[in-house]
């Protein structure tokens, strides 16, 4: 009886990472800016995205969205009211979207005809952080009702984000939201991240967000 050590050095999510790299190449070739929106359930991803899609369409941009949920197509129907093409991904119990699901649901869409593609991930601040979807920008959202220490509680997600969005700013005051503390915590976990303070209800902060999207699209396509 002999024992031996076999070195593998294989990424556990290698299959997903390879698929995601392929998607990233496709997005780049098509010139579409792809964003992955992640947050807890109830942060307001759908409302924020609804407003974003409507505003971008009004500015003449070509937009589309994929939206992930365990069940129901409620969010896809809400987002479709913006007039943008939207597809629902039902994960049936899986707590995150992965590159294979994205690849499958992009079938039939001509990416070259899009300026922006938004992927609304399953509401979960843990698992989606491990799964690359080939996105160019990962956006972590946090609402004023969730507690200023959320970034400290879920450091992996906030650390992996490229931009942070605080939602529901219109009710910040009655919620006793400590803005300075929230900004400090986000920066502690992800130094230098761009932070947007928004309200999908009043439209506050949306112009700055839309400017950022336009700048990023231009910068990354240049």
């Amino acid at each position: 009886m002999t024992t031996r050590i076999v070195e593998l050095r294989r990424g556990i999510l290698k299959k997903n990472d390879e698929l995601a790299a392929g998607l990233r190449n496709r997005y780049t070739a098509a010139g579409v800016l792809v964003l992955n929106l992640v947050s807890s359930p109830g942060t307001g991803k759908t409302a924020f995205l609804e407003r974003t899609l409507t505003a971008l369409k009004a500015r003449g941009a070509r937009v589309a969205a994929l939206v992930g949920d365990l069940e129901t197509d409620n969010d896809a129907r809400r987002l479709a009211s913006s007039g943008a093409p939207v597809r629902q991904i039902n994960t049936h119990g899986i707590c995150h979207l992965d590159a294979e699901m994205i690849d499958k649901h992009l079938e039939g869409w001509e990416l070259g005809e899009l300026d922006y593609l938004f992927i609304e991930n399953v509401g979960n601040l843990v698992c989606p952080s491990s799964y690359d979807l080939g996105e160019k920008i990962r956006v972590a959202l946090l609402s004023v009702t969730e507690g200023e220490d959320k970034p400290l509680k879920y450091p992996t997600m906030f650390n992996s984000a490229d931009a942070a969005v605080i939602t529901k700013m219109d009710i910040a005051e009655p919620c006793g939201f400590d803005r300075a503390e929230a900004l400090k915590n986000i920066n502690e976990i992800r130094p230098g991240i761009r932070i947007f303070e928004t309200s999908a209800k009043t439209g506050a902060g949306m112009d700055e967000w839309l400017e950022y999207l336009a700048e990023e699209r231009e910068r990354r396509n240049a």
Partner: protein, 133 residues
Amino acid sequence: MHELSIVSSIVDTVTESVAAYPGARVKEVRLRVGALSSVIEESLQFCYGIATEDTPLAGSALVVNILPVIVHCEPCGQDVELEGVQSFRCPKCNEPSYDLRQGKELEIESIEIEEDEDDHTDCGVAPRHSEEK
């Protein structure tokens, strides 16, 4: 709770790798997991027992080596290890840094297998002495 999908990936990869060693038994699977990988070792261990049943990995041990976060500190001009994941600041000079050098790893480092003495199937690799000709 994505540990089950992670463990399923481990089972697939290891099963594929040990196919090159017919008759070998997997004794141990060693992982390198960065502190920022959002994987909980307890959940991994729990899922491992279930997911490895009736596979070549059944009965093997899972060893999880957690790697601390290392960032590059510009003012100090060196890579520094963070004490935790609550603050991305250099422990020496307190400057924030997002230049990650370690902490997101999620990989199978190696496996330990057990073979019978007379089982010399060596995954098709030529014996070393043939290179010395």
